[in-house]
């Protein structure tokens, strides 16, 4: 699928929308916001005993690109280890050379949310 179709598809049919039980030991929750747009995002991960992200869910109230990018991110992180997820970078190969721009906050919001979710999970574990 061409890149732009993929983005629109994630915007119109976001994947992994929902909520996990925050009190579960193997769930980490990241909550972030971008004041410039007034966007709020909650991103949760479910981690296996081996430290692999089994599932991810999100809920984003915000502009189209925030919704699309959080949906994309939840797809990417599934199957990653916690360390990989924290290093998350968008290195997929560009199909077209001249891509449209991205709002600066949207480019960091989803990454921040993943990092916050991982930190929350590790925090929970450490407390046990």
């Amino acid at each position: 699928m061409a890149y732009s179709e993929q983005v629109i598809d994630h915007y119109e049919n976001p994947r992994n929308v929902g909520k996990m039980n925050d009190s579960d030991d193997n769930v980490g929750t990241g909550m972030v916001g971008a004041p410039a747009c007034g966007d709020v995002m909650r991103l949760q991960i479910k981690v296996s005993d081996e430290g692999i992200i089994e599932d991810a869910k999100f809920k984003t109230y915000g502009c189209g690109s925030a919704i699309a990018s959080s949906s994309l991110v939840t797809e990417w992180v599934k199957g990653m280890s916690l360390d990989e997820a924290q290093e998350l970078k968008n290195t997929t190969i560009a199909e077209e050379l001249a891509l449209p721009p991205v709002k600066i906050h949207c480019s960091v919001l989803a990454e921040d949310a993943i990092k916050a979710a991982v930190a929350d999970y590790k925090d929970k574990r450490a407390k046990k």
Binding site: Y11, C63, A98
Partner: protein, 624 residues
């Protein structure tokens, strides 16, 4: 030291000489031209005494026919007779599929972009067709005013997007008309009423024309007309009411297949019926169909029912415009009706019901826009230096660009006062991305596909960086006519890319130049003469305004050295101006403009100081 005498007697316009300027209402169904003569603004009739020029252009092997004569042949020669061309302005070939009624034309195959209509005189763009209407009005104005036009104010629906405005301006250029301003139709109507009645307060203008619907909310205060909000539908008008009735006719006739000529015939009959229903509760219409005569009775109730959804659409737009303006219905002082379609009783009743007051219909709704435009043109031409009148417009539809891929991000929101300049920073999506596609769109929706595509360009040479590290500033600038230019800049390297937004569905500048050339048929010389004249006028304008500026503020704002330098440069341009090389004059104008920039800026600052004289710095300091 005596000031340099620039103007030779009889060459430069005398300060007290009136400049001829007109207002043009370039309508979907009819067009008009008006001007201010001995203090009165009035529409100008043709030699036969009619004021309305049907916006119909017919191409024949012998030439172009515009107006009533063209309209008379519409049913007989449908492919060469172009009606409602305003609906095609600034549209792409793809958009036309959605436009009913226009389907009768034959569109030439083009590589996307602008649609061309096939006629016996060759393929014609909507811009060229509109230019024919403008040329006719220009000729009418020249004949009745007996002189050359300084320029014109041309009205457009407030809801016109950038592409439609640009197309209108291009048509004027093709017709050889200098556009003093593209004025929104509702604002023009408010001007016509406001000055007549000396109103102060909030005014709502409900404008239902042949092909467009506009609602504007304005605040009038000491001669300043400030548009608070505007809304509407650039594809909803009286034509749609005709179509609704024509479709009912067709149902009654058994839904037989229609051919191009008959569709237009039924629409004409529907319009005839609609117009009669304004005065009569019941109208009987005779239709020729498949060799038979059929009589149908149409009551006002039936008609009102057929058009109810259309009327509701306009009322919803009114509600929204009031909300955007932040005023309630009871704050609205006056409601003004514009456009021939507001003669329909059902419209008047619903508007009265919504605003809870009787709308104004005193000025002929067909003429009110042209009259308002003429008043504005008179002021803009400089004929009324003491006039307090000023019209402040807003952007009708949000401007933005495509982000991520397919998503629209607004940079300037609708109902922002214009002119406006605004910038926003963006970044790259992928590591090592060295180019960025800037796709400019207009509209309110979240997806690019649901907005109007205005232009695309690519910013290249971004240094390879990690995704999200580059900072690209995209700047939008909209002038007082609502026309946009866009630039993009990578901030760490300063690499820049700028375009004057030429809509994807518009004409390129060289195309316009080609058409202009062609319109002067064999006469290359005419073209050159016209070019020279234009450059001379621009040179005169600059020299004249500098001369006035020096005599007004030169002593206060210029050192002796600066003054001498300026005057030397003025003498140079003046001698160039009297030559015959238009390129040299153009260059000279540029140079003089540059060397006098600082003076213009100083004068601007001085006028700001003067404007705020009553509110001195003491007052500010006293408060802080």
């Amino acid at each position: 030291m005596a000031l340099l005498q620039i103007a030779e007697p009889g060459q430069s316009p005398e300060p007290h000489q009136r400049k001829l300027a007109v207002g043009i209402d370039l309508g979907t169904t009819n067009s008009l031209v008006a001007s201010v003569r001995s203090g009165e603004a009035a529409t100008l009739p043709d030699e036969g005494g009619s004021h309305l020029l049907p916006s119909v252009v017919r191409y024949t092997d012998q030439g172009v026919v515009v107006g009533q004569a063209a309209l008379a042949q519409a049913a007989v020669d449908p492919f060469n007779t172009i009606m409602s061309v305003k609906r095609l302005m600034g549209r792409g070939a793809v958009d036309l599929k959605g436009l009913q009624g226009e389907a009768v034309y034959r569109f030439a195959d083009t590589d996307g972009g602008m649609p061309y209509l096939q006629t016996v005189a060759g393929d014609k763009s909507p811009v060229e067709i509109s230019a024919e209407i403008l040329k006719t009005l220009k000729a009418r104005a020249r004949a009745s005013l007996e002189g050359e036009l300084e320029g014109a104010v041309i009205t457009v629906p407030a809801y016109f997007d950038d592409a439609q405005r640009q197309a209108t301006k291009d048509a004027a250029q093709l017709a050889g008309i200098k556009v003093l301003r593209l004025l929104n139709e509702p604002t023009a109507a408010a001007v016509a009423y406001g000055l007549d009645q000396g109103a102060e307060g909030v005014i709502a203008v409900y404008d239902l024309g042949g092909g467009t619907f506009d609602i504007s909310v304005l605040r009038l205060n000491k001669g300043v007309f400030e548009v608070l909000s505007t809304g509407g539908d650039s594809a909803l008008g009286g034509d749609d009411f005709d179509l609704a009735l024509a479709q009912w006719f067709l149902q009654q006739l058994g839904g037989a297949e229609v051919i191009a000529g008959e569709s237009r015939y039924l629409t004409e009959k529907a319009r005839w019926t609609k117009e009669r229903l304004t005065e009569n509760a019941t109208v009987v219409v005779d239709l020729d169909h498949a060799g038979q005569k059929v009589s149908l009775e149409v009551t006002r109730e039936l008609f009102d029912g057929l058009v109810e959804t259309l009327v509701n659409k306009t009322v919803r737009a009114c509600r929204r415009a009031l909300k955007d303006a932040g005023v309630s219905t009871d704050e609205v002082l006056e409601v003004v009706m514009v456009g021939g379609s507001t003669r329909m009783p059902v419209i008047r009743a619903r508007v009265e019901q919504f605003f809870e007051r009787q709308p104004h219909i005193d000025i002929d709704p067909d003429r009110v826009v042209a009259v308002g435009a003429a008043i504005q043109a008179d002021v803009l031409a400089g004929n009324k230096p003491d006039s307090e009148m000023l019209l402040l417009d807003v952007l009708p539809l949000s401007l933005g660009l495509e982000t991520m891929g397919g998503l629209a991000e607004k940079v300037i929101h609708r109902n922002t006062s214009i002119p406006v300049a605004r910038a926003q920073e963006f970044t790259t999506y992928q590591d090592g991305q060295t180019a960025m596609m800037v796709h400019v769109v207009q509209g309110e929706r979240e997806l690019v596909d649901d907005c109007r595509s205005l232009a695309q360009f690519v910013l290249r040479g971004i240094p390879p960086m990690a995704a999200g590290a580059a900072k690209i500033r995209v700047a939008f600038q909209v002038d007082a006519d609502g026309l946009l230019s866009v630039s993009a800049k990578e901030l760490s390297t300063g690499i820049e890319s700028e375009i004057q937004v030429k809509p994807s569905y518009g004409l390129a500048d060289n195309e316009i130049a080609e058409m202009l050339k062609a319109s002067y048929s064999c006469a290359e010389g005419d073209m050159a003469a016209r070019n020279l004249r234009e450059q001379q006028v621009e040179a005169d304008r600059l020299l004249h305004s500098l001369e006035q500026a020096i005599s007004a503020d030169g002593k206060q704002l210029l050192s002796e050295g600066e003054l001498i330098h300026l005057q030397e440069q003025m003498v140079i341009l003046f001698s160039l101006r009297n030559g015959t090389d238009s390129a040299l004059i153009e260059q000279g104008v540029k140079v003089l403009a540059q060397v006098s920039d600082f003076f213009a800026a100083r004068r601007m600052d001085l006028s700001i100081k003067n404007a705020l004289k009553g509110h001195s710095i003491d007052e500010i300091e006293g408060n802080s």
